[in-house]
């Protein structure tokens, strides 16, 4: 039996409505001529950009690119963890200044606190953001049940498998019901089988939650399987080489990968990445 979905945690500080997209119609994320340089003086290296991009509220966007193409930098800029060298970023029409409680991040390496139990880890945003305790706890338990971690709530992370750790990290990222979910190669550290299983599960969960999601990955199939839209990035400095709608039906499953349209999109993305390598 499936657990009853608890009401969203609300507190006076969270000024958002319940639906995925805001009613004002502004895109969830907008980037205008954004670049990012690293280093100083003679050794300045451009890691990213210039990039122009708009992400619609409620959509799932996959960004795929070779390692070192600055796709993680892109995510950190959108998260507010880094500032752009040039250009502007907007979140729901407002200037982006620093991290926001409306953004949840799943990092590549689960980043669970080893001294805390799974439940305590999932509850971290509630503690830091001072959310109403009882409602947060109810939501945490619901999320743990949804991800099959109910019986491991009291366990320490080191007792969990890689996939379970990443599930817990996902629960933590969505505990405060953020408008935007950022996924920084969330399956990068997992084996191929767990990877596929977990990415489909994530797809299902994302539909359940109905929020905007941005996935960073180096796996083309994963990008297509999960995304409404796939963005292929060029080698450093990372720029957008392809921005394409993934018009595959949902819900997606293991058979989606056999859909001719899936193959077609994959071929287009592949060709682009290979021509880059030949140059």
């Amino acid at each position: 039996m499936k657990a009853e979905r608890p009401a969203a945690i609300t507190s006076s500080a969270a000024g958002t409505n319940a639906s995925g997209a805001r009613s004002d119609g502004a895109p969830a994320i907008e980037l205008f001529g954004v670049t990012k340089d690293f280093g100083r003086g003679e050794e300045i290296v451009r890691a990213l950009g210039p990039i122009d991009l708009a992400i619609e509220g409620g959509s799932f966007v996959s960004v795929v690119g070779p390692s070192g193409c600055g796709k993680s930098t892109l995510l950190r800029l959108i998260a507010g963890l880094e500032e752009p060298t040039e250009g502007r970023l907007r979140r729901h029409g407002a200037k982006l200044d620093g991290p926001s409680r409306e953004v949840g991040i799943v990092f590549q390496d689960h980043v669970l606190f080893p001294w805390a139990s799974v439940l305590e880890n999932v509850m971290l945003p509630a503690d830091v953001l001072s959310l109403p305790k009882a409602a947060a706890l109810e939501r945490a338990r619901w999320l743990l049940e949804l991800t099959g971690l109910k019986d491991f709530a009291g366990h320490k992370p080191h007792m969990l498998s890689g996939g379970m750790k990443q599930r817990a990290a996902f629960c933590r990222a969505v505990l405060a019901d953020p408008q935007l979910l950022l996924l920084d190669e969330p399956f990068g550290a997992l084996d191929a089988l767990t990877r596929e299983e977990l990415s489909l599960e994530l797809s299902r969960l994302w539909q359940n939650l109905g929020r905007t999601a941005l996935l960073i990955t180096h796996d083309i199939e994963e990008a297509i399987l999960l995304g409404d839209r796939i963005i292929v990035m060029s080698d450093r400095p990372g720029r957008i080489r392809l921005d394409m709608k993934v018009d595959l039906p949902r819900p997606r499953d293991v058979n989606t990968a056999r859909n001719p349209r899936f193959m077609e999109i994959k071929q287009i993305a592949r060709d682009l990445i290979f021509t880059r390598e030949r140059n």
């Binding site: 507010g80 390496d109 001294w115």
Partner: protein
């Protein structure tokens, strides 16, 4: 079939057996070569003298343990807030940390006569010497611990707009815990040495004083008994901290 438990027993018993063999060799060597008791007493002679002097040995152990523990706890109480201040205010860090690291290089033993000069004879100068030797290992390890936070964990806290206090409470403090215990284990071993040095320089009681007095009177077996007691105290205090560590740091990174 019986080989497995026998193997387990023999691995566990190796160290005690080595100690026992060494003690027997010591006893045999002393008897065989007629080593004078005031140079190297036989284990049996040490035990006999220890029994005879038991009340004095116990009382002076109590004094030394008391100085060690009071000094250690005070060092802990002083160094922890200072470590927090150094880790969290960059000005204090710039001003204070170089001075503290410089002071750490001063051989604390060399300060013992000065401490006695300033504080007279009594328990306090010895406690102060213990504080001096314990203070730095704890401080340096805890400061390092506060800074040993993995970058992704900090990013996670930043992404939640966590306050400095929240980052300290939820992240830096737990990360620093194993480092604190490492510092404490180094410090407690130093603490016993510090107490003995204090007693060497000026004291009327304590195991250090007993060693000094008994060697002066050629009561070498008594000095050996006191040294063995000091070793036992050192080991027991070290393991006491290790037990505390196992209670408080139950996680693995």
């Amino acid at each position: 079939m019986a080989s497995l438990p026998w193997k387990a027993i023999s691995t566990r018993a190796t160290t005690p057996i080595i100690y026992l063999v060494l003690t027997i060799l010591w006893e045999a060597g002393v008897r065989l070569f007629h080593v004078p008791g005031w140079i190297l007493p036989a284990p049996t002679a040490i035990i006999a003298v220890a029994k005879q002097w038991a009340p004095e040995l116990l009382y002076n152990s109590y004094i030394t343990v008391q100085e060690t523990i009071i000094g250690f706890v005070l060092a802990l109480v002083l160094s922890l807030p200072l470590a927090v201040i150094i880790a969290f205010t960059s000005t204090t860090r710039r001003l204070l940390y170089p001075i503290l690291l410089g002071l750490q290089s001063v051989p604390k033993v060399a300060l013992a006569p000065l401490v006695i000069l300033w504080l007279g004879i009594g328990n306090w100068p010895k406690i102060v010497i213990v504080i001096l030797v314990c203070f730095f290992p704890i401080l340096v390890n805890v400061v390092a611990g506060f800074e040993a936070v993995p970058k992704p964990m900090l990013d996670l806290m930043y992404s939640l707009r966590a306050s400095k206090l929240a980052i300290f409470r939820r992240l830096r403090a737990p990360v620093a815990m194993p480092h604190l215990f490492t510092g404490c284990k180094v410090a407690i071993t130093f603490a016993v040495i510090g107490a003995v040095i204090g007693e060497f320089v000026a004291a009327q009681e304590g195991l250090g004083y007993m060693i000094l007095m008994s060697t002066a009177q050629s009561l070498t077996p008594l000095a050996f008994a006191a040294i063995i007691l000091l070793t036992v105290i050192s080991v027991v205090l070290f393991y006491a901290i290790e037990i505390l560590e196992r209670r408080f740091v139950t996680w693995r990174p």
